[in-house]
Structures are given as C-alpha cells and as structure tokens.
C-alpha cells in the first residue's frame, strides 16, 4: 500500500509533517476520489445542491462539493469503537456479567458522532453495531479516506474512575517503536504494518492537545499523554490517538456513556488547535 508523500530522506520529522500537509491539501483541493479508493458514489449532486445534510450520513458521506474554495474542507474524524462480536474487550468481573468494553465504547462512539456532526464534523465509524471487525479492516476503512483524524476508543480495567488517558503509538521508554522495519533504500512503498511510522510526531502532538482537553473535561485525568504500542494505531495512516476511559468495573456504566459529549468537545477543540498549529488557520 502506498501512502503519498512519505519521504525517504533522513529528516524524519519533516517527512512526517509533509505527509500530513500534502494529504490535507490534497483533500481540500482535488477530488478525493482520485486519492484513494472510495465506494461508488451516487451521481454527483448538482453544484448548487442544498448543502444541509442534517440526517446522519451513511458510513461514507458524500464528499463536499468541489467548487467551494472559500470554506476549508470539513474535518473528518474516524471513530473506532474497539472490539465487538466475540471479542468483548475488558470486563468488570471474570464472569463477564455487567458492563463490557465493546458495548460501552460503541455507545460512547455513537454519542460522540451525534455531537461531532452537530458541530459540522464529518464522522466515519469503523463499526456501527456489535459486529466483529478486524484491526486491519478498521485500518482499511480509515486509510481509504484522504485525510482525517483517527480516534480509537477504549475502556480499561484499571485506573481511577471517570478519567481518560490518551495514547499515541510509541514505546513508553521514548525509543522508536521497535517493530518498524527500516525501508530498503529506493523503496517508496510503506509496509501496511508500518503505516503509522510517518505520523508519529503528528499523533503525539494530537495526543498532547487531546489530553489537555481531557484533563479539563474529566477532572483528575492526567495532564500528559502516554506512548503505548497499541496494535490498532500501528496500521493507521492518519494522525491517530487511542483514548482509554477508566474503567469498566464501574458501578454505573451509564456515567461513562455520558462522557460522549465532553469527549466529542475535547476532540473538536484539540483538532482545531492542531490544525491551527500545523496550517495556520482555524
């Protein structure tokens, strides 16, 4: 799989950032269909078609009309409710009675989608019901989009109740993620398993901004994000963070589902700050 803009120079940082810029710019100017495989679209809407799309869009909402250079392209957020199907994720007690991670994250993701769309952000979900979707299938959905921000949602087994920790891909001791295979010289292609390699800086920066917001929205959350070798993040070719809420053994799971709106607001603010920093515009 090829990801445009991946530099082969040693200047890793520039290459990573350049990739994002290229991707974002391309998303804004060109027709997204040219960049990545998109599902078949209904015949393009007339240029002056009503642009109010209030109803919840399908998995792949139609791209915004091309002829609108004045407004920036809509931000796309890919929400990834982890687990699903047989894989219930973290659970409160060994008997798997009570709340399980897969249900909580789906409820939170749906709540977040409602709020994000209300604020004018395009949302793509990697699973919409209790179905088993593999890690690579989720990444395929995300990587097929021209540009976006990937947010993997989790509910952990431990930690202080009603707090949230953001993670970006990396090893906690600060070294490079160990398993990325160096590319042979002259090869432009990026291994599927190394898709995140070009976005480590971007993801870390996004995680920092997200964590600042989380610490405000969910008091007692930590102030700084962590690195973790999250399998899902590794194969995503976008700025990507995982957010783990604490915790599944909650007496009242509904209290976690109520975090959807604060989480969505936190993401909106963090992404706005991220774009402002990287593009110089809100």
């Amino acid at each position: 799989m090829l990801f445009g803009g991946m530099g082969k120079k040693k200047s890793a940082r520039t290459a990573g950032l350049a990739a994002i810029f290229v991707a974002l710019a391309a998303f804004g100017s060109a027709n997204p269909g040219a960049q990545a495989p998109m599902p078949p679209q209904s015949p393009g809407p007339p240029i002056h078609a009503p642009t109010t799309q209030q109803a919840p869009p399908p998995l792949f909402p139609p791209p915004s009309p091309i002829e609108r250079p004045a407004t920036p392209p809509p931000t796309t957020v890919i929400l990834d409710p982890a687990h699903g199907g047989q894989d219930s994720g973290a659970h409160g007690d060994p008997a798997e009675e009570g709340a399980v991670e897969k249900d909580l994250v789906l409820a939170i993701a749906l709540g977040m989608r409602r709020e994000l769309e209300r604020q004018g952000i395009r949302v793509v979900l990697t699973r919409q019901n209790d179905s088993a979707v593999s890690i690579d299938e989720r990444a395929a959905v995300a990587n097929a989009l021209g540009a976006g921000y990937f947010v993997s949602l989790h509910v952990g087994s431990t930690g202080e109740a009603n707090t949230a920790q953001a993670y970006s891909f990396g090893t906690p001791h600060g070294g490079a993620p160990p398993a990325f295979v160096p590319r042979p010289p002259g090869i432009e292609a990026v291994r599927w398993d190394d898709a995140q390699a070009g976005y480590l800086v971007a993801s870390r920066r996004l995680a920092e901004l997200v964590q600042v917001e989380l610490a405000q929205k969910l008091p007692r959350s930590p102030d700084v994000p962590q690195f973790a070798e999250v399998r899902q993040l590794r194969v995503v070719a976008h700025p990507a963070v995982a957010i783990e809420l604490s915790r599944v053994a909650e007496a009242n799971p509904a209290s976690l589902e109520k975090t959807a709106v604060p989480l969505a607001t936190a993401m909106v603010k963090a992404i706005a700050a991220y774009r402002q920093a990287s593009e110089g515009r809100p």
Binding site: A82, G159, P172, H173, G175, P178, P182, L200, V230, R231
Partner: protein, 247 residues
C-alpha cells in the same frame, strides 16, 4: 474368680497402658495436620526457593520491574538479590519466573500469577523468543494501560538481567499473537537495544540512547520535546538502574 475373667481384665489393663503411651503421639500428629493449609503461591515459592538457594554461590542484584507499591499504574524496579547463574537462557528463565512469582504483594504483580514461561530460546544474533502460557492473555486485565505495563515489565526485566538479548519475540502458548490481551501489539519483535546499555546492578551513566534509526523508525525522536513526555513514569524509573532512551 474364673481364670477367663482374670485374663480379660489383664488384657484390658494392658490395652489401657498401651493407649496411654500411644494417645499423646496421636494427638501430636493431629495437631500438626491442623496447621493452616499452604496457599498455592507459598507452595510455588517453596519449590522455587530451594533451587535458588542451591546456587547460592553468588547472588547478584537484579532489578525486578514490579508495579509500584504506591501507584499501581507504574513500574518501580526493586533490586532483588538472585542467583541467576551464567547461562543466558537460564538467567532469562529465572529472572522472568521470579518476575511472575516473586512480587512482594499480589497488587504489585505485573503479570498474572498463573502465567508460566513455557519456553525460552536465544539465538546467536541476540534474538530471543519467550513463550508464555495462555494464562497471560486470559488473566491479565484487558486494557491499554495494563497490557503495556505487563509488556514493559517483561522487556525491562529481561533487558536488565540478560544483556545478550537484543530483540524479543513473545509467543502465547506456542503461537504468534496479534495482541497481548486485545490491545498491545505483539506481532513484531521488541528491540531491547533501544533501552540503552544494560548493566545490571550498576547505575550506569546516562547515555544518549535510541539513536535515530534508518528510515522506518522515523519521527519518534523529535516528537518528545514539546512536553516533558510520559511524565510520571519517566521520572520514576531512571532513578533505579539505567538510562532510558530517547528523551
């Protein structure tokens, strides 16, 4: 008095005398049985201890990366005197087994107590394979935080105890696994050399670890400066043993 009755009485007296001798001994044995049952854990430790003590020859201080007593969300290495021997594979096995079973309190265990190290191989190029039993993914509380701590405990302890190990593959019950317990990546090899030089029990001088690697490893370096990075954890660990990479 008929002779038969006298014989019976004599036998009874003898029986009473025998009882007087025998009963105290019986009581002693019963009271010994009543001692509290050993827990499975204690029993395991007792099985391991003699082996440790047999090689008592020279114990060395090995950092064991157990969970912090005060904050179970972090690792806090404990310098533990262990006789690991000289063979790298034996050292690795002993260190990892002690990591699983030796924690001072159950709350400090980074890995489930039922985890067993089924096999450990070390190749000439420094690539090691550790094969853990199914109990590891099944009994470890699922979650990014818990899984990353378990993984770090394994890699850090192994790195400190067996410097020869450069890369580590982790298998579960003989098979490659995509994740540890649903979140953390197990699909590749963990590069232990990024942790910097390991000199067990020697508080080595800080070394600029984690050299920028060619192409693939991109970017991880410049990512740190903006924030004081993985804050709490970063601060806690270096105090103990060794320099850490990349900050």
């Amino acid at each position: 008095m008929p002779r038969a009755v006298r014989i019976v009485i004599l036998l009874l007296v003898l029986a009473v005398l025998a009882g007087l001798v025998e009963l105290p001994a019986l009581r002693l044995r019963v009271s010994r049985l009543e001692r509290p049952e050993q827990t499975e854990e204690v029993a395991r430790r007792e099985v391991i201890r003699p082996a440790e003590e047999a090689r008592d020859a020279k114990k060395e201080k090995v950092p064991m990366y157990w969970l912090s007593e005060t904050d179970p969300g972090q690792l806090a290495p404990v310098e533990t005197p262990l006789a690991l021997g000289t063979d790298p594979v034996e050292r690795a096995r002993a260190a990892l087994e002690w990591l699983i079973t030796g924690a001072p309190t159950p709350e400090q265990r980074p890995l489930p107590l039922d985890t067993t190290l089924l096999a450990f191989y070390l190749m000439d190029d420094g690539t090691a394979v550790a094969d853990f039993s199914e109990a590891l993914p099944h009994e470890l509380p699922s979650g990014i935080a818990t899984e990353q701590l378990a993984l770090d405990a394994i890699t850090r302890t192994l790195h400190a105890a067996v410097p020869q190990v450069r890369r580590l593959h982790i298998l579960i019950d003989g098979h490659e696994a995509e994740t540890l317990a649903g979140h953390v990546d197990l699909s590749g090899a963990f590069d232990l050399t990024l942790m910097g030089p390991a000199t067990p029990a020697a508080p080595a001088a800080a070394t600029p670890a984690a050299q920028p690697k060619p192409a693939g490893t991109i970017a991880s370096q410049p990512s740190e400066p903006p924030v004081k990075a993985p804050a709490a954890e970063e601060k806690k660990i270096p105090a103990a043993t060794k320099p850490r990479g990349g900050e």
